[in-house]
């Protein structure tokens, strides 16, 4: 069940989401991005599903804008790997008409080793 913006506080942790990076997913990514095929999953293909999953965790109104995105990559994973994404609210700002949210996510492989970290900043339209 997506959580409404008003119910979120800094530090809020969402339930982990896990997914498999199968060949079909990686191929779709590679075709869309013009990516050269490699034996491992391109890091932005790993992130693609994680970022989309954030949209299912928070109830975001139409007009929400993704304004900034950071990544740190630690290791690659092979095609077919299952990864787990854990996300939390790093920062929430509601001042005047501005409603901003920064979400941090950690992606780990099946052994628990870190794969990448990401930070997404979004701005919600005025309520």
């Amino acid at each position: 069940m997506p959580v409404a913006y008003d119910e979120l506080t800094s530090g809020h942790e969402f339930p982990p989401v896990n997914y498999v990076l199968d060949a079909g997913t990686v191929l779709a990514y590679a075709e869309a991005a013009g990516s050269e095929w490699r034996e491992h999953v391109p890091p932005l293909a790993v992130a693609a599903r994680a970022i989309a999953s954030l949209g299912g965790l928070v109830s975001l109104p139409a007009g929400t804008i993704h304004v900034a995105q950071d990544f740190e990559f630690y290791r690659v994973v092979p095609v077919g790997a299952r990864v787990t994404c854990s996300a939390r609210v790093l920062r929430k700002l509601a001042r005047g008409g501005v409603r901003l949210l920064t979400l941090e996510m950690d992606i780990k492989d099946e052994s628990g080793a870190p794969v990448q970290k990401g930070r997404s900043t979004i701005v919600l339209p005025e309520a």
Partner: protein, 139 residues
């Protein structure tokens, strides 16, 4: 690695025309089926007046340029910090470019810091930011 890494070096550009087909494929890869990206009729009723590419698809283009420049070192140790400046639309031709701004030696590793930018055919900035990558000093 296809270019000599030194301060001031210009990274090989990555040019890609965005198509609705690319956007649809990215939706399949990510699971992000927000209608602003894939439903032309819906998107026409919004402030965007038409579909726009996922911001993450534009970042994928940027990451591809960095992977071609730095090889596996990018995929294994890259850091990306970006801001979305304007939307990319189907039909836009995007050019991703970058430059090595600084190199920092750290024993057997060199940390390269690059400025990166993605512009459309009208020279408008779509995404800008900074990338850092740890590369073996012997390369």
């Amino acid at each position: 690695m296809e270019f000599a890494v030194c301060e001031g070096a210009v990274l090989p550009e990555f040019v890609r025309q965005v198509t609705q087909s690319d956007i649809n494929r990215y939706a399949e890869a990510s699971g992000d089926y927000n209608p602003i990206h894939i439903d032309a009729a819906f998107a026409a009723t919004t402030a965007m007046k038409g579909t726009i590419a996922h911001g993450m698809l534009v970042l994928a283009f940027m990451s591809e340029m960095l992977a071609r420049a730095f090889g596996d070192a990018w995929d294994e140790s890259g850091q990306l910090s970006t801001k979305f400046r304007s939307p990319a639309r189907p039909g836009d031709t995007l050019t991703v470019s970058g430059k090595v701004e600084s190199l920092h030696d750290d024993s057997d590793i060199v940390l390269a810091t690059c400025s990166i930018v993605c512009r459309n055919q009208a020279d408008e900035v779509v995404v800008s930011g900074e990338a850092r990558v740890r590369i073996p000093a012997s390369v």
